[in-house]
Amino acid sequence: MTDTTGSSGPLLAADGTPLKKRLAQAMFRSRARAFGLAFPLIAFIIVVFLVPIVVLLQQAVYDARYTNLMPESAASMSDWDAISPPTEAMAAAMVSDLAKARENKTIGQVATRVNREKSGTRSLFTKTARSAKKMEAPFMEALIAKDKDWADIEVWKAIKIASVTFNPGYVASALDMKYNADGSFERQDEERRIHGKLFYRTLEISFLVTIFCLLLGYPVAYLLSTLTVRTSNLLLILVLLPFWTSLLVRTTAWIAMLQAQGVMNDLFVVFGLATDDARFSLIYNKTGTLIAMTHIMLPFMILPLYSVMKTIPPYYVRAAKSMGATNWTAFWRVYFPQSVPGIGAGAMLVFILAIGYYITPALVGGQDGQMISNIIDFHMRRSLNWNLAAALGLVLLVFVLFLFWLYDRIVGIDNMKLG
């Protein structure tokens, strides 16, 4: 360590230790104290936020179920090329594993896993496992004698895919691709391509909701920021009250408002805008999702806008006008640029919340107002294909991070102001 104080020796504290060292100690102590205060939060975030996300996301690429439960069979298939006919060694390993899996009562798990790759193989596995113990060489013939499906190379290909531990198949299928037994990828069959469309629709809906929120929220926020504190506080309650009301209540209220026999349609009929037997379908479709989501997201736009507009000094606009600017020029050239950080924050907040939105589309979305989160929910709760759900979540996460990066490049994250 070089000494900056030169030949006169280091400055010493009263007890003789170098002052520099004492300072470092004091700094360390205060930093440690600060860290100690923040530690509960950091630990909390790691335990309940980061760890679950990582654990869930690793399921998108890791699936050891088949390899763990059918070790011999998985090993026997590892260097099979998925083109030549399945070998006798593979059949022998299969029979031995099937017998063991039945004994351990894990055959159902194996069957479910393979069935995910090829429909109908579940009963093939459970049925064959019942008699696997009694089977004798040659095993391939014994298997085929039990069920002719074992002669189908497609079944063996499905098993081969299931036996891959680090499996790119789920991410591939989240992107509407198919992972083949020989390790290649191809596009999913036309009638099963769904995720691409849903991702696109999710973006479209989120984008539209953001635009609508901006168009509706900007004037409101402007009004709030220019009124006297007393009035604006009163009006702010009108923004906050729905914000504090349960999401479910607000969504179901929209159902009552928008349905064919609902309030809106009744009014349309009364005013002659629609006839009684040709009412508008405002709900259980994309229109319903857009209306309800815009309403629910509106406070997330108004609040950051309001907090930014509140800080814009009114005399800038007055000055511009005194120099001869029209109302429009004064607004567009002077006021609007200063409100951009609020727009950035509001739009970002609304857009990212909307991308992952789930409950409103589920309730009022019908078939063309569904978003990607609804299919993730489907795979979490109904099909129990958590691997695919994780893969879809991974794609969504990567996408949001990409948008964030893009936003930072174009607008700059420092320009964002949340209030």
Binding site: A111, T112, R201, Q259
Partner: protein
């Protein structure tokens, strides 16, 4: 010091053991609404009165996701769950459920062993059925009179208006085929082929634009009551309760009904296994199953309960004719083929989801 420790430890042990045997508390999970109410009245209350234990009743929305996450995280809090047949089979396959020894089930009053007394298919390795329910379709007779067959559900010309359908290919594909003229007995044979699946989806295409999709059992009666749909598929008990309990003019069409079981299953590692098994045996007793039928129109899963089914709890409606298993309702009825769905649900769900999205 050592003595105090030992004393403390033993008192603590004795205390917890004493509490455990004196009053167990089990958590029973079911579907909520009128259905859970029927179970509370017929099973929970009498069992609690008999044993002094308490039953915590929780609601869920079906599926195995909660069980799977509890079992995999090793923090199981549910003791018994009421599930659909396909989920019972799947949960057992995936190793999420305890196997249930059928010998704990009480025999019928005339001595018939439980294994013979339960309807065929009602007992499986990990599950014991309590009711037979069915997916039917229903209409508002004050607005759309004259509906009587499964064809009418798909007949937009004869009966214009929106249709409510459950957002799930199960039951729906079968109904579509039956409406397309396939007799109940041949449905699964045809659905097992690619052409059969195409045919079912083609039939669904004809009404796709007029469908309101529902997911929770409480929605269809609401959709009918709001006039949002003119007909809707529904669980028969929910329609019965809206009609008998709330006086709604709803009628069930039994033609093309699809019967299914609801079963008790126990998540692997359930915390109060012994008490829960006792509850399970008690609730699937002949008497209790018959008692449940006075609260909701789902058929008991035991043959011996049939003759004991009496009046609805309003004291005047005869329950017999409202049961899925009543003779007159069985003319063109289908029993859900769980083997078929266990094998094909992944593929058909995918196909259905992308059909919906397009």
């Amino acid at each position: 010091m050592n003595l105090t420790k030992t004393l403390l430890a033993t008192t603590a042990l004795a205390f917890t053991a004493g509490v455990a045997s004196a009053a167990d508390s089990i958590t029973v999970v079911s579907w909520g609404g009128a259905y859970t109410k029927s179970q509370v009245e017929a099973y929970h209350k009498p069992w609690a009165a008999k044993t002094g234990n308490t039953v915590v009743s929780e609601d869920y929305n079906g599926g195995l996701a909660e069980i799977k996450s509890q079992v995999e995280a090793g923090t199981v809090t549910w003791d018994l769950v009421d599930v659909e047949l396909s989920d019972a089979i799947r949960g057992c396959d995936e190793g999420l459920l305890e196997e249930i020894d059928h010998s704990i089930l009480p025999a019928a009053p005339d001595g018939t062993p439980a294994s013979d007394d339960f309807i065929e298919g009602a007992l499986s390795d990990c599950a014991v059925a309590n009711i037979v329910w069915s997916t039917v379709f229903a209409y508002d007779s004050s607005k759309t009179p004259g509906v009587d067959s499964i064809d009418d559900l798909f007949d937009l010309e004869g009966f214009p208006g929106k249709r409510g359908l459950r957002k799930n290919p199960k039951s729906l594909l079968e109904m579509a085929l039956m409406a397309d003229g396939v007799p109940a007995a041949e449905v699964y044979g045809i659905l097992d082929t690619d052409e059969g699946v195409d045919r079912a989806f083609a039939k669904l295409d004809t009404i796709k634009d007029s469908v309101v999709w529902w997911e929770a059992g409480a929605q269809p009666p609401q959709l009918l009551a709001d006039g949002e749909v003119v007909m809707t598929t529904a669980y028969n008990g929910r329609i019965f309760n809206a009609a008998a309990g709330e006086g709604k003019p709803f009628e069930v069409v039994w033609d093309g009904q699809i019967m299914d079981f609801d079963l008790w299953v126990m998540p692997k590692g359930a915390p109060n296994k012994a008490a829960a098994l006792d509850f399970l045996a008690f609730s699937t007793d002949t008497q209790q199953l018959a008692a449940q039928a006075s609260w909701i129109s789902y058929g008991p899963a035991r043959k011996s309960s049939g003759p004991l089914v009496g009046l609805y709890n309003d004291g005047k409606t005869e329950m017999g004719p409202h049961m899925p298993t009543a003779e007159a309702n069985l003319e063109n009825a289908l029993v859900n083929n769980f083997e078929f769905w266990a094998d094909n649900q992944d593929e058909l769900n995918d196909r259905f989801n992308s059909w919906l999205a397009n």
